[in-house]
Amino acid sequence: MFKRLAEAERQAAGAPVRITVDGHAVACRAGDSVAAALFASGRDACRDTVVGEVPRGPYCMMGVCYDCLVTIDGRPNRQACMTQVAEGMNVERQRGAREVQ
């Protein structure tokens, strides 16, 4: 579990960016990546893997491991660590492999 240092917490509380994560409201610090916002809200898993369907969370935070893939505003496989939070953003956990539609 991660927590914010005082200055980061002050920024997050002062002018929060509000997003939704799997239906739950989450207040974020402006400028944070979606992955950082997930960690700050106590979530260390963001998807279930495509092969073993086991929980997985952000690992590298720099855009190279692709473990932080989430669905953002209906678009799947977005890198949570490379995407900044935006007001009203809807983040959903990805569960297993995608069905062919």
């Binding site: 200055e7 400028g31 929980p55 969370g57 935070m61 692709y66 678009r75």
Partner: protein, 483 residues
């Protein structure tokens, strides 16, 4: 169709890219810097303009040195496009081969093209894979990730936290946490006994290096505050759906401790996906157990028109990256005809000296913190390819079946074919095959990497503006197909 044009394209806004852009643009080179992040700094100076960690004592003066790279960059007139991911580089064959390269990149999910006469890759390093049992569990992150969370978002671990592995970064982040009032629970050092003796031939340079004084003070402060266990073997992350405990063996005793957060680090390796896909020749560095592009002292590669600067050309650290960037930029300015070779050599003189100072002492670190065999060549059901969830046993057994190399291994197991494109399994797979076959790693080689070097949706690709030539190419093919 309008395509962005530039003389020099620099990819990556870390110390190498920023300093290169500043000096090239100041010499009159039309320079464009593309960077994946929203703000300059790369990973080492991540969020240097936006960090909420404003108390400078927390991250330390080496981090804040990064701010000094920004002013010359801004003043130089170099163009900067943040949030831009480069995914292809190809030499133009038409209409005029002299024009250089066509580069594909994306900004905010929209694909774009640009033309550049010269390219400097400054894409830096990534964490070396650290395949131990349970390294895929939520709650396990790289130490680099932990540092990015601290720099960019002011996030620190709130509960029982273990740092494990080897290398200066482990101590640096523990020290930064201490400065922020956060005490982690334990440091597990994997450096095997006897390493210091191997590093001793380089100790004289280390003692004369800037690392020595600063490093010793930092290590002393960390040692005084945090329990450190040395010679850790058999490291495992345990838990059902998330990390619950960390297990390890020391002096033949197996220990277990409850943990909410495990941060892993065993050095960094060059980020080779772009340079490999571009066709640059690479060598195996046996001292550091990684691939690195073949470059000359100016960062020029085996491909005319493509240079590489910074850790992406071989790990040497942030300060060295800065000078390697400056040198590569001078060379690019010379190749592009803005300065002659005499001016290049004259301007470069202070940078060579600074570079020599910056790398002094690194051979000592490299020998001391060489990642142990056990943590580079896993066994059993330890996951090797995180994306496709392929285990060490599967890779080893597939070699026994007759699979001789990493590209064939993809066909058998899909390792390296997930979204990370081998970034977190490539080194391990090559080393495992080499070990099983009893041949050196260079004989095994690496995955054949192709563009796009980052996953791209079809919709994104389709958003590319079409040229008359590209339309005609498809029309002609259709006609041939119908005939």
């Amino acid at each position: 169709m309008r395509v962005t044009q530039c003389e020099l394209l620099i990819v990556g806004a870390g110390p190498a890219g920023l300093s290169a852009a500043a000096v090239a643009a100041a010499l009159g080179v039309d320079t464009l810097l593309l960077d994946e992040q929203q703000a300059p700094g790369g990973q080492i100076y991540r969020a240097i303009t936006t960090t909420p960690v404003t108390d400078k004592r927390i991250l330390g003066e080496d981090y804040w040195h990064g701010a000094s790279l920004l002013e010359p960059f801004k003043a130089s007139g170099a163009r900067h496009e943040p949030g831009a991911t480069v995914w292809s580089i190809s030499r133009m064959t038409a209409p005029d081969p002299e024009e250089g390269f066509e580069v594909g990149y994306s900004v905010g999910g929209e694909a774009r093209l640009l033309h550049a006469r010269h390219i400097l890759l400054a894409t830096g390093a990534q964490e070396r894979p650290f395949p131990i049992p349970g390294w895929t569990l939520p709650g396990v992150v790289t130490a680099g990730a932990a540092q990015i969370l601290l720099k960019s978002a002011g996030l620190v671990p709130g509960e029982r936290t273990v740092l494990a592995g080897c290398g200066p970064l482990l101590y640096l982040i523990a020290w930064q946490y201490l400065n922020a009032g956060v005490k982690i629970d334990r440091i597990l050092e994997t450096t095997p006994p006897g390493r210091l003796q191997k590093a001793l031939p380089h100790v004289f340079d280390f003692l004369r290096s800037p690392y020595f004084g600063k490093g010793m003070k930092l290590v002393r402060e960390v040692k005084a505050a945090i329990p450190i266990v040395k010679g850790v073997k058999g490291l495992k992350a345990l838990g059902q759906d998330k990390l619950e405990s960390v297990q390890y063996t020391v002096d033949g005793r197996t220990e277990m401790m409850a943990a909410d957060q495990l941060m892993l680090h065993q050095g960094v390796v060059p980020n080779v996906n772009l340079s490999r896909a571009a066709g640059v020749e690479h060598d195996w560095n046996p001292a550091m157990d990684c691939w690195q592009p073949k470059v000359d002292a100016w960062g020029a590669t085996s491909l005319p028109g493509i240079g590489i600067a910074g850790d992406g050309a071989g790990i040497a650290g942030a300060r060295a990256a800065e000078y390697r960037g400056l040198l590569a930029a001078l060379n690019a300015a010379c190749v592009l005809g803005h300065i002659d070779a005499a001016r290049r050599d004259q301007d470069a003189r202070p940078y060579w000296k600074a570079l020599e100072r910056a790398v002094r002492g690194r051979a000592f670190f490299d020998a001391l913190y060489k990642a142990p065999d056990e943590y580079r060549r896993p066994t059993g059901d330890t996951i090797v390819c995180r994306c496709e969830e392929v285990t060490a046993d599967q890779v080893r057994q597939t070699v026994a079946l007759g699979c001789s190399g990493p590209n064939q291994m993809k066909a058998f197991l899909r390792c390296g074919m997930g979204p990370c494109q081998g970034r977190f399994c490539g080194l391990t797979v090559s080393e495992l095959i080499a070990e099983e076959r009893g041949v050196p790693v260079p004989e095994i080689g690496y995955y054949r990497l192709r563009f796009p070097t980052k996953p791209l949706t079809l919709g994104e690709l389709a958003s590319l503006p079409q040229t008359e030539d590209s339309r005609q190419a498809v029309i002609r093919m259709k006609k041939r197909g119908g005939a």
